[in-house]
Structure formats: structure tokens, C-alpha cells
């Protein structure tokens, strides 16, 4: 059934963009853009977008909204040119929103008491979220190459970093909180990355050979995948909790392990749990990667006189690598997220701020834990995508 027959001639080429635009406008008008509170204990008073922004900023956003409205229509631009226009207008809207908030915070605090705080409101989040989605959608429609998207992403990150560097956001309560805990933040950030790294290395060391074994001996697959699946289904918090008792007993029983840091709480159970969660995707993708190598290729290699080792390293691994690295991409992003939960058992990491903030009802702390985690995951995902693309042998692209 062609819906267009009932709706009349199509006016909107990009319904996703149109929806996001409507959502942004609705959010901007109906929801508070910022909140201003005289001190830390009292919740803030809502400040609407029109009040918060300077006239030129409001006009700028309106103009960009108009441009985006134009971009989603069939006439005059159509889908592809509309998408390209979106790639110009949406990031400008995003950056303007960010700048507008920081600028408002600065102005609002100049005459206020030192304890006063300005924080972001729901409208701010809606605008940031929607403009980001508009960019993602536009790239999807254009089918752009990974390199183009990476370059664009890099530029956008650089622009946001410039905003940070010039102190645009320094008046916001979240940044002030950050400056309070700056040393601890850097510490936990490094801990977070270390936990992920210390988990991924053994995962690869164990998972890759297991994947190869599962490929070479089909009989092992049933047992292997069943066991790994069991770990996958245990909820993360439960697994961390389950590891407390055995690991603390182990740390007590074997002194040098205890000295090394094996204990019921802290990094040891966190890393062990992360390894157990990461094994299944690695083993499965490794097995699938090797299975994807055409048996004829393997037979030809054997028939020509390559040794088993030569066949593995010269033929099978290069051809299986993209799939294996896709598995690594999955577990890297997964591990970055799961490490947040590790903070619950004393391992540290960015999760520490999230749980601390939840305990104190300090949303800023929560955000200081959550936003960098999300950013890390997105960046890691992007880097892994590039790695996967690079690993594809020239002939097989």
C-alpha cells in the first residue's frame, strides 16, 4: 500500500529530521533550558530558553531551525542535499546551544552570591541530543565513508574542546564540581581505563585460542558456548557479588596472591568478572571469523604445501581478522560500560562518581561519571571501527 496515495504529494523527504526538529522546538519552548539556584542545597528555579539566551543567540537558533526545516523537505533540496545542509546546520545549532548555556551561566553569576549555581536543564539536553541525532541520521542517509565521518567527528570534538578550553562552561555548576574533584577525577579516569585494559588483555589471550579450538574441533563448541553463555546471563552486579567470597578466600589462603592484590573487593573481582563477560563475544567472533574463510582456500593452501602454521598465519588469520576485531569492538565498548558497576565493589573508576553522586543526590557528580563514560565508549567504538576497516585485506574489501 502506498501511503502517499492517501496523504497527497510527499512534502517531507526526511521524516526523522522533521521529527527531531519538532522535538527540539517543543523542548526548547516547553522545557527549562537552565536552572538557577542560590546555593547547593536548594533546587534551582527554571529558566526558559528565551530568558537565558541573548537575542542574537535566540535568533541564530531560530535561523538554524528554519534551515533544518528546509533540509527535511522534498522541495527545494531533496534528501541528499538536505542531509548535507543538515551536516552544516545541526552542529552549528549544537555548538550554539552549548555556548549559549555557558554564556548564560557566566552572566547569571556575575551579580549573584558565590554559592549560587547554574545548571543545565531538560531543554538543553533535548537540544544536544536531537542535534546529535540529526548529524548521525544525515551521515546514515549519505552513506559516507568511515574516514569522512571520523574527520567530521574529530572537527566537532575539537570545536567542543575549544569551548571547554576557553572557559565557556566554567561558570556551570558541573564544571565547578569538576574543578573541586579534578585530581580525583583524573585518578579515577586512569583507573577506569586501566581496569578495561587489564581485563581485555587476558580475554584476548584466552579467548582467541579458544575460538580457534572451537573452529578446529566442532565437538567442543557445544560445551564451550554453553559455559560462556551462563556467565553472560548472570547480571553484572550479581557476578561481582558472587566473586567476593571465593576471591577473598583465595587472597587469604595464598599470601603472595593477596600481596598482588587478589582480594574479595577491589580490582581483582572486577577484572575477573569483566574477563568472564568479554569471553563469549571474543570466542564466538573468533570462531565465526575462521569459519568464514572459504574451505576451498584452505584446501588450496594445503595442497600447495603450506604447513599448518603457515596456513594459519598467512591465510586464515588475515581473512578472519575483521570479524575477530569486530568482536573486540563489542567487548571494548561493553567493558567500558561494565567497569562503571565495578565501582560498587571498590574497584574505582568513573562509576565511583556516579554512585557517590547518587548517594548524595548530587546530579553533577553523577554526570561527571556518566558523560565521560559515554564519551569514552563512543570514541572507543569509532577507533575500533577504524581498526576493523583497516584490517580488511585489500582484496576482500
Amino acid at each position: 500500500m502506498n501511503h502517499d496515495e492517501h496523504d497527497g504529494p510527499r512534502r517531507i523527504a526526511n521524516r526523522v529530521l522533521a521529527t527531531l526538529l519538532v522535538a527540539s522546538l517543543a523542548g526548547a519552548v516547553l522545557l527549562p533550558f537552565a536552572a538557577m539556584a542560590p546555593n547547593r542545597l536548594v533546587s534551582g528555579e527554571s529558566v526558559s530558553l528565551l530568558t537565558a539566551l541573548r537575542p542574537w543567540q535566540t535568533l541564530g537558533l531560530a535561523a538554524l531551525a528554519g534551515t533544518l526545516a528546509l533540509a527535511c523537505l522534498v522541495r527545494p533540496l531533496g534528501e541528499r542535499r538536505g542531509a548535507r545542509l543538515t551536516l552544516v546546520a545541526a552542529p552549528l545549532a549544537l555548538l550554539l546551544t552549548l555556548y549559549g548555556l555557558g554564556d548564560y551561566a557566566q552572566r547569571a553569576l556575575t551579580d549573584a552570591s558565590p554559592a549560587a549555581r547554574v545548571s543545565q536543564g531538560a531543554a538543553f539536553w533535548v537540544l544536544v541530543f536531537c542535534t546529535s541525532l540529526m548529524i548521525v541520521d544525515a551521515f546514515q542517509r549519505l552513506g559516507s565513508s568511515l574516514w569522512l565521518r571520523s574527520g567530521y567527528g574529530l572537527l566537532l570534538v575539537a570545536a567542543v574542546a575549544a569551548l571547554f578550553a576557553t572557559g565557556t562552561f566554567n561558570a556551570l555548576s558541573i564544571l565547578r564540581e569538576y574543578f573541586n574533584i579534578e585530581d580525583a577525577f583524573v585518578d579515577q579516569f586512569v583507573t577506569h581505563l586501566t581496569l578495561v585494559g587489564l581485563a581485555l588483555a587476558p580475554t584476548l589471550a584466552i579467548g582467541l585460542p579458544l575460538g580457534l579450538l572451537a573452529h578446529r574441533r566442532p565437538a567442543t563448541r557445544g560445551v564451550l558456548f554453553s559455559v560462556l553463555n551462563v556467565f553472560q546471563t548472570i547480571p553484572s552486579i550479581a557476578l561481582f557479588a558472587l566473586l567476593v567470597a571465593p576471591l577473598s578466600a583465595l587472597g587469604d589462603a595464598v599470601p603472595w596472591l593477596g600481596a598482588l592484590g587478589v582480594a574479595g573487593i577491589g580490582a581483582a573481582p572486577a577484572i575477573l568478572a569483566l574477563i568472564l563477560y568479554s569471553l563469549l563475544p571474543i570466542v564466538r567472533n573468533t570462531q565465526a571469523g575462521f569459519a568464514g574463510v572459504d574451505p576451498a582456500t584452505r584446501e588450496a593452501a594445503r595442497g600447495m604445501g603450506m604447513t599448518r602454521r603457515q596456513i594459519l598465519w598467512r591465510v586464515e588469520v588475515p581473512l578472519a581478522l575483521p570479524v575477530i576485531l569486530s568482536g573486540l569492538r563489542i567487548v571494548t565498548v561493553q567493558a567500558i560500560g561494565l567497569t562503571v558497576v565495578a565501582a560498587l565493589i571498590g574497584a574505582g573508576g568513573l562509576g565511583a562518581f556516579i554512585f557517590q553522586g547518587l548517594g548524595q543526590y548530587a546530579i553533577d557528580l553523577v554526570l561527571l561519571g556518566a558523560v565521560p563514560t559515554i564519551a569514552l565508549a563512543v570514541i572507543a567504538d569509532f577507533l575500533m571501527q577504524i581498526l576493523v576497516a583497516v584490517s580488511r585485506p585489500a582484496g576482500a574489501r
Binding site: 572459504d294 584446501e299 588450496a300 593452501a301 594445503r302 595442497g303 600447495m304 603450506m306 604447513t307 603457515q310
Partner: protein
């Protein structure tokens, strides 16, 4: 030269290959053929030990290679399979260079060998050297596969139904290529197929297998005219036995002198360069004109099979074909009576 002595393969109590002995002389093109499940592929793959022998010996030249480490043996034997198995992540040049690389040839020698082989298979080296397998057509890929098998100048080339997966037109082209390459290189070839016509076209000797046992190993003409068992003639097929025979006969063997003077029952008219232009007389029925113009397809060359010549006679409904040389000049004729009169 390669000799198989008493090759046997059993899986449990099931005998798949039973005591096969045959000797392929240097430069011969031997074809293993038989019904499905007769053990021809298994026998072939026992030669390069992809399938271990249950018992038997293999001699390469005068050397007993039965105990030689498998990888070493395989580097001396070329292997081309139906699904080709080109390495998708390597260029054509890298694919062809695999065994020379394993044998640690100097790179200059490898590069010139790659060019030599591409040339042999009529693939422009400049164009194809850096192409990837996915950019090749089926016929081109199979050519590269065979070139790869020949790269290290092996003592024997094993081919396992290499042309089975391509369309009939490409198959015929590849068969002709294979014959030409074999004549030019003089490689010893052992070729497995289930297609009798392919075997008759290419083989210097055919080994017919049935349920793991060697039934007859002879020149094609002997299989056709002196079958060892009823199975042989059944397998070859009685329906077109005469035509199969003619596929192993060539025009130059039946060629007679062509008359250009007017007083014979039929004679040819030629132009100034000696090309035949038309035939006078020579048509069997009265309802066709007595004077027939010669077209390009209505000719024969000395190297053409008699089967094809006969086919043309039937198609054009004339019992005689002019035989022309490379320049198109009339050098003789073949007639239907000539085909009938000659002993097979």
C-alpha cells in the same frame, strides 16, 4: 614420470580405492574418469597425500616419495581444484607466487616467472598482475588457478575437475587453453573428470575407475574400439559411439585432394588468392541449387576434429567441406564418403 603402485584406501571396513596401479610417462596427459563415488578424486588426492594412503607406493621419477614429508611432496606437485581456492587477500601475482615463495626463490626469478605464466595463459601481465581474485571472471580465475599450480614448474600437475563449475562456453575455451598449455609446457598431467567428452578431448591415456578399481587404462581409441569389459562401453555410452570416435580423429587424416577443374562430379571455384568461393555439384538432393557459395562457417581446417567437420556437413546439408589453411586458401576437401570409407 609418476607411478602409482597398489594404491589402496579404506575407511573402516569400506574400501574406497582398491589396489590401483598405473604409470604416467613424462609429458603425458592422463585422465581419471568414472561414475560418482568410483574413487577418482580420492586417488588423485592420495598422490599429494591430502588423503593418507592405507597402502601402496608412489614413485616420482625414480624416487619413492611415499614416506616423504607431505609439505615437501606437495611443493613438487601442482594442484588445481574445481573451486579454484584463490587467496582473496592477495593479488594475482602473489597468488601465483605462493609455491615459489615457499621454496624461497629469489624475488627477481619469481617476478619473471609470474609474467611468463600470465603470458602463457594469454592474460596481459600489466593488467592482471595487481588485480584481486574478486575482480576476475570465472574463466580468468580458473586460468590463474592453473597458472598458480604450474608456478614452481612441478614434476606433475594434478587437476580435480577444474572446469566443472563454469558455463559450457567458458569450459570449452578453458579445455582448448589447457591443451595448448600442455603442448607448450610438456608438463605431466593427471586430470580427474566425470565428463567423457572432456576426457576424449584432452587425454593421451584414460584410466576408467569403477567402485575403487581400475577397469582399463589405455589410449582413448582403445577404450572406444577395444573395451576391456562391458562396463567400459556402457560408461562411454553406446548412443553416440561413432561420433565419439570421430572426436578423436582429425581432418588432416581424412583430407583428400580438391578438384578445381570442371569435369569432376563436383569441383571448387577459387578466387585470385586461392580462397574457395563456391562449389559446383556435390549436393545429394535435387531440390537444392547446384551451385553453392562458400561461407566462413562452411569450411574445415586440418586440425579440426572430424566430429566438428561432420557436424558442419550435416548443418549445411552438403556432403563435402573445403579444407583451408591459415591464410584461407583451399588445400583439400573432406567428404561424407571419405568418413564412411575409412576404417576407425
Amino acid at each position: 614420470m609418476i607411478e602409482l603402485q597398489g594404491l589402496t584406501k579404506t575407511y573402516g571396513d569400506k574400501t574406497v580405492v582398491s589396489d590401483i596401479s598405473l604409470r604416467v610417462e613424462r609429458g603425458e596427459f592422463s585422465v581419471l574418469i568414472g561414475p560418482s563415488g568410483c574413487g577418482k578424486s580420492t586417488t588423485l588426492r592420495m598422490i599429494n597425500r591430502l588423503i593418507p594412503l592405507t597402502s601402496g607406493r608412489i614413485l616420482l621419477g625414480d624416487e619413492d616419495v611415499t614416506r616423504l614429508p607431505a609439505e615437501q611432496l606437495r611443493r613438487r606437485i601442482g594442484y588445481a581444484i574445481q573451486s579454484i581456492g584463490l587467496f582473496p587477500h592477495w593479488t594475482v601475482a602473489d597468488n601465483i607466487a605462493v609455491v615459489p615463495n615457499l621454496l624461497k626463490w629469489p624475488s627477481a626469478r619469481i617476478a619473471s616467472r609470474v609474467d611468463e605464466l600470465l603470458d602463457l595463459f594469454h592474460l596481459d601481465a600489466g593488467e592482471f598482475r595487481d588485480k584481486y581474485p574478486h575482480q576476475l571472471s570465472g574463466g580468468q580465475a580458473q586460468r590463474v588457478g592453473v597458472a598458480r599450480a604450474l608456478a614452481a614448474d612441478p614434476e606433475v600437475l594434478l587437476m580435480d575437475e577444474p572446469f566443472g563449475a563454469v558455463d559450457p562456453l567458458t569450459r570449452e575455451v578453458l579445455q582448448n587453453e589447457m591443451r595448448r598449455v600442455h603442448e607448450q609446457t610438456g608438463t605431466t598431467v593427471i586430470f580427474v573428470t566425470h565428463d567423457m567428452d572432456e576426457a576424449l578431448k584432452l587425454a593421451s591415456r584414460i584410466a576408467l575407475l569403477d567402485a575403487g578399481r581400475l577397469v582399463q587404462y589405455d589410449r582413448p581409441i582403445e577404450l572406444l574400439t577395444a573395451p576391456a569389459e562391458a562396463f567400459v562401453s556402457d560408461f562411454i555410452g553406446k548412443a553416440d559411439l561413432g561420433l565419439k570416435l570421430l572426436s578423436r580423429r582429425w581432418v588432416h587424416q581424412y583430407q583428400q585432394a580438391a578438384t578445381t577443374s570442371g569435369d569432376a562430379p563436383h569441383h571448387w571455384e577459387t578466387d585470385a588468392q586461392g580462397h574457395p568461393t563456391c562449389l559446383h555439384g556435390g549436393r545429394p538432393t535435387a531440390d537444392v541449387p547446384p551451385r553453392v557459395a562458400v561461407t566462413d562457417d562452411w569450411t574445415a581446417t586440418p586440425g579440426m576434429t572430424m566430429k566438428e567437420a561432420l557436424s558442419r556437413m550435416v548443418w549445411y546439408r552438403v556432403g563435402v567441406l573445403p579444407v583451408i589453411d591459415d591464410a584461407g586458401r583451399l588445400i583439400g576437401e573432406v567428404t561424407l564418403e571419405g568418413v564412411m570409407g575409412r576404417q576407425p
